[in-house]
């Protein structure tokens, strides 16, 4: 299960501006952008358990929202870039969240990995991919995929 969390639009300007500036540095102008956090949680938990994790642990209810359905943050007509650390790479945030989930649900998940989803409205996938490789991911440690939403 992937739990996606994102900052509510009215609080998200700083992180979105940071992402836009970073892509601009790689020569790509974005029309609109959004950034989400992703938590891939593997374990024998029920849907209400995952809901509880999203609500009580991973998202701050005042400033953030969450969804158990990746890409459901309402950002349309754009590209979605999903970035993860490769499974061979130590994921410090994932490890910490794993411990926290055990504390909340009383049962430790098998695996937790942390990643990001970047939403970008721009002219072409090829240009976006070029900018992503140039500035956002290091293919030695990261894996990523780009999809149209």
């Amino acid at each position: 299960m992937i739990i996606e969390t994102w900052t509510k639009e009215k609080y998200a300007k700083n992180e979105e501006d940071g992402f836009v500036a970073r892509m601009a540095h790689a020569g790509l102008k974005l029309e609109r952008a959004r950034v989400s956090r992703l938590y891939r949680v593997e374990g024998s938990f029920s849907r209400p358990d995952f809901d509880r994790l999203g609500k009580e642990l991973l998202a701050d209810s005042i400033t953030e929202k969450y969804s158990l359905r990746p890409g459901a943050n309402g950002f349309k007509g754009a590209w979605r870039v999903e970035v993860w650390l490769k499974d061979s790479v130590t994921d410090v945030v994932g490890e910490s969240v794993k411990g926290a989930i055990a504390d909340v649900l009383g049962k430790e998940p098998a695996v937790v990995r942390f990643g990001h989803a970047y939403y970008a409205a721009c002219e072409s996938e090829a240009k976006l991919k070029h900018a992503v490789v140039k500035t956002l991911v290091n293919e030695i440690v990261n894996k990523f995929k780009i999809e149209k939403i």
């Binding site: 540095h25 490769k86 061979s88 790479v89 440690v141």
Partner: protein
Amino acid sequence: MNDTLSSFTSLPAKELEALDKAAGWSLNALELAEAQRQFKKMGRQPTRGELETIAQTWSEHCKHKTFSGPVVFKDGSKVKKYKNLFKETIVKATKTLNRKWCLSVFTDNAGIVEFGRGGKWGLAFKAETHNHPCAVEPYGGAETGVGGVIRDILGVGLGAKPVLNTDTFCFGRLDSKRKLPKNAHSPERIMRGVVEGVRDYGNRIGIPTAAGGLYFDEGYLLNPLVYVGCAGLIPVDKIAKKVIPGDLIVSIGGRTGRDGIHGATFSSANIDEDTSASAVQIGHAVNEKKALDVLMRARDLGLYSAVTDCGAGGFSSAIGELGSETGARVRLEKALLKDTRIEPWEIWVSESQERMILSVPKAKLKKLVAILEAESCEYCVMGEFPGDGRLLVTHGGEAVVDLPMAFLHGGVPNFEKPARRRKIKINAAPPARPSGKYGQILKELLAHPNVCSRHSVITQYDHEVQGGTVGKPLQGRYGDGPGDAAVIWPQAATLDQSDFSGFGVSHGFNPAIGKIDPYQMALHSIDEAVRNLLCAGADVSRTAILDNFCAASPKDPEVMGDLVQAAEGCLDGAIAYGAPFISGKDSFYNQSRDADGREYPIPLSLLISATAPVEDVRKALTINFKEAGNPVYLAGVSARGMGGSVYNELTDSGNNAVAALDMKAAVKLYAGLGKAIKAGCVAAAHDVSQGGLAVTLAEMAFSGGLGAELDLAPAAREKKLTATELLFGESPARLAVEVVKGKETEFLRLVKGLPVAEIGYVSEEPVLSVKDASERLFREDLAGLKACWRKELI
């Protein structure tokens, strides 16, 4: 591989070389032959684990063969031979000075000097580099660099409590237009990753990152330099450590995986989606914090007799080092693993992060385990130190390593390296008169990447955690001026809030001078570091320094020649300033090839990190002008020469002579100024360094939000000094000071006979106005100057 190993003792040289390459040991022909000879003598073939151990123990990283080896230096017809360059320069300075307040030098993971009053505390200080890993994966490389140097402080003596992190980075120019090799990262990308790595590790572990620097040069385009440092407090009675035969070997902290096998760096070819372990090192600050908390509690209860960190070489290096006299009996099957598919020899040499090795008396294990469990810190008991001087490492019933320690630590062969003085044509003619106005040149200098504001980096770091950062990296009326040195009040370690003893930490770094004159580079760097401490109000007569050399391939005699000259500069500078080296590190082979086959060797880069006591942190100084009406003085003699200056990078003045440092005069000057600072006569002080005097004055003015009316005519100067050299030359041993108006007479009495001249006064009007007798040099609005300086680097 196994077939080759089974006939190791009879392999011809070519096959030995091929084996070395396949295994990635980086042993040279001499070393391979020596290993072969030793196993022939033992009458058996080596195991893979034994050769891995030899490769680790004899590596450049662990043995510093280049710097501590024999060198023949040729300077024209003159020849000088060194048996051990390091001992005959760096160590010699410390031995000659023989300072009583040096408590531990060159013997442990960090140097230790006395701290504070009462003789209760020692200050441990260490800096090292993590260059190659940062070129490949900047974020992880920087994180693990920070984690590693913190572990050095945790592993010095019986463990010091870290109170300060430092970071100095060198990157290629962010605006570089050069074509990079396919897999190389752009300088901007490397810088962003490195800064984020340092930020995330330092902030998460709760240690302030409050001192350091940034330097840009095309020479670092493919080989960034990442210097990381750490300072910590240790009770003086916890400095001595000794492994007692019979003690248990206990590993605490992180688990062991296939991280960074074969050096602090790693090969991207080894990493793919099927690799189940952590093939790339990413630091885990929280695990290291757990180990830190355990160590501080266990140290004070006397629960272990020795400790060291697992750095390069992993268990092999750490256990080998602790057991160098007693020997060690290690059972690798006891190690806590991240991955069960790891080979026994890989467990032995893995460089997984956040691990510390303790030597624990059997009777104290139970109490130690109680603390480990209370702090949720993982541990394993891996064996014992038997006292027979033999290293025996097994996994189940299988012998992985069975070698005498004397061979491992004393058997490395070394060979003489040729060194030659580089030929540089020096033009000492007066610099060409600039085409633009001085005010415009000042603005361009303020905007230069090696001068402009570092706030976009500094503000990412937590420099306030622990509540003891008195001298901050950003200072002044608006909290955004460039501090010369960090001043730390380590009450979080001493827990004594009535004692205001502190210490300052600063740096000196001048690779641009090193391209012209490596000897002067070393002197200038020591001088700059000491001067920065003085500007913060530290007692520079008690300065202790660290040397961190980074160089290109030592196979190049000119690179070795640069090293020899800089090392000689270190010797002379340290003795003249009475500042002993207490620790240091070197990194070689910082050289790469670009897409067109062009070589990119870095310039010889020497970072001098310095520390000195600040008797009362409440009296520490900052750089910004404080009050209108206060007189401004320039201390030191402005000398001729534009060599190595930022000005020359902007506009080649035609003059590349480096102003030589007059060490005796500098020491005398600093002693006088030190007295004046101690007497409370000085309100602000700032060193003259990159960009020259004009930049120094501008920074003091806009950091304080106060202008100045200045006439440089009375300033001490060499004959025939041009206005360009006076304003923008970077001759050493100069600082600008703002004197408290009511204490001017006392100030003048204390600096009598020294080259200290009044050059004007601080003014309310936000304008910096500078003339030289009848010639008006510039008159600039502070807001305009500051706007040029305050650039967003990332």
